[in-house]
Point group: C2
């Protein structure tokens, strides 16, 4: 089976449906092996997030075509939206899914960044695992000042881009390209209306205030449910697993006499994150993934696909 990598471009257009479709179409028709798993547009944010899946080279080709189309159709000088952004194509992370490593994704980010800079004169910043310095790991830091402050920010030698010119692309700004582990958005709902309980638990589990290395979290009020929520981003579920975070939230909530009412996964989740939770609680002695019937099917399906590709080439 070929390496499987996810690529999740965030583009600064969430209102003109025809443009959103054009960008998807450009990516998919440039690289037929690439699949579109999800597409979500937000009108308030005026932003769309696409989830593509494929092998490395196909994704680089697809992203090249998507950026071509986006630079033709999106002009940040007239763009407005609630979400912070630096570029017409704002962020492009590569995420290893199966048979690929973070290092593979860093290499793809650099290859794509260099090629976009050369072709379009587009400044590129590398972030997260592809970052050239610690200061550039964090997307929020790179993006602060947004498109409107970019020309000034780039005059600072500290903010010289990793590829491309030291000035923004006139209509396209700059693009942040990188590699990161799969992210899981995971919320735990508490049987209380007291937001301070959710806030304190969020503080207990998040990295920045002394919690788990790969957890970002905040307290959120769920008005309609009359409950509060610990809203969590799990930035590396292999190193900080779901079940450990759940158990810590449960134990911290107990300390306030508050029950965990339920939890929810937002968006996609790698199967392994849930199998690891099942393994933990059932005390399984071996990773159950190879025994999962659907995984046998998936292997066979991809074997078929590869042999079909071999026959036609």
């Amino acid at each position: 089976m070929n390496a499987l990598i996810e690529c999740i471009p965030n583009v600064s257009e969430g209102r003109r449906d025809d443009v959103v479709e054009e960008l998807q179409h450009a990516a998919l028709s440039a690289a037929p092996g690439v699949l579109l798993l999800d597409s979500t547009s937000d009108r308030d944010h005026n932003r769309s997030v696409f989830t593509f899946l494929g092998d490395g080279p196909s994704l680089v080709t697809a992203m090249g075509a998507l950026v071509d189309a986006a630079l033709q159709r999106i002009d940040l000088r007239t763009h407005q939206g609630a979400h912070p952004r630096l570029g017409a194509v704002d962020v492009i992370p590569f995420v290893p899914i199966k048979g690929a490593t973070t290092a593979d994704c860093v290499a793809l980010a650099k290859e794509l960044g260099a090629s976009l800079a050369a072709k379009h004169g587009l400044p590129i910043y590398l972030y997260e695992d592809a970052a050239s310095t610690e200061a550039r790991r964090n997307l929020a830091t790179i993006r602060s000042g947004e498109f409107e402050g970019l020309a000034k920010k780039m005059q600072d030698p500290l903010w010289k881009p990793d590829f491309g010119p030291d000035a923004p692309h006139p209509s396209g700004g700059a693009t942040v390209v990188g590699a990161r582990a799969p992210l899981i958005a995971y919320n735990i709902n508490l049987g209380t209306e007291d937001i301070s309980v959710a806030d304190r638990i969020a503080k207990a589990i998040r990295h920045i205030s002394g919690g788990y290395r790969f957890v970002k979290a905040m307290g959120v009020k769920l008005e309609a449910r009359r409950q509060v929520q610990v809203s969590i981003n799990m930035t590396n579920y292999e190193k900080t697993p779901l079940h450990r975070v759940f158990e810590t939230v449960r134990s911290e909530a107990e300390r306030y006499g508050v029950p965990v009412v339920g939890s929810e996964i937002v968006g996609l989740v790698p199967q392994q994150a849930l199998l690891a939770a099942a393994s933990h609680f059932l005390r399984l002695e071996a990773d159950p993934a190879p025994a999962v019937l659907e995984n046998k099917l998936l292997e066979l399906a991809f074997k078929d696909k590869e042999s079909a590709a071999e026959k036609s080439s």
Copy 2:
């Protein structure tokens, strides 16, 4: 996506590798859409178990071809092995996996049974969910007396076969065909050498002695590990889920001051059985299956396959 059904023929040959391969080949070449997920031969039992996957009509075609080949190559008059058996092809269960119901599988069992009886003069008993009477639900009851006692057993009007003649096929005996829910073989290992603890817990959870409706269980000594095991067959994981059985075993073991050391899944397991365990312990508010990335891939892979099939037909 077409219905996905598993079909798991058990044949009375586990020593002659060439015969085992012939049978597999016969099934697969008769129905190209059918996949072989697993093949396990046991020399002591002199028996092989094949796990095929496909849609209903393809599986009926494949099983027809497998029985053809088996009747030519296996003669029960000279067959010896530790495992009880009634026929050259001993048992053929159909198991619904995806987009198929038990009723679909019962219909397939009847179709296959009628066709095997007509073509080969092979007596067929229907079992489990396809059984014509309660007495025939249980495979062990149908098989008692084995091939050697079959001619005599069939003289009893109670044991008139569901299809075919009232006398055994000379070399092939009779075949038991049926439909059942997916079965999970699940073992829970206990931190004690006292087999009576495993026996008592097995008794507590198994249906026959007052436990869960879809659990068969027995105590087993693990000499090398100096532990004992509750060895479990989960005959319907949707109605009696893994996590409930695990929690009951844990609580019963605690009553004897014995820890659950680990657990293991033997053979294949439907993804949903493990996702249900994760859901239970993480208190997930929604079924996570639609959010699992690999399931999106599987959907796409089967969509590709179907459209390829449409193009070629």
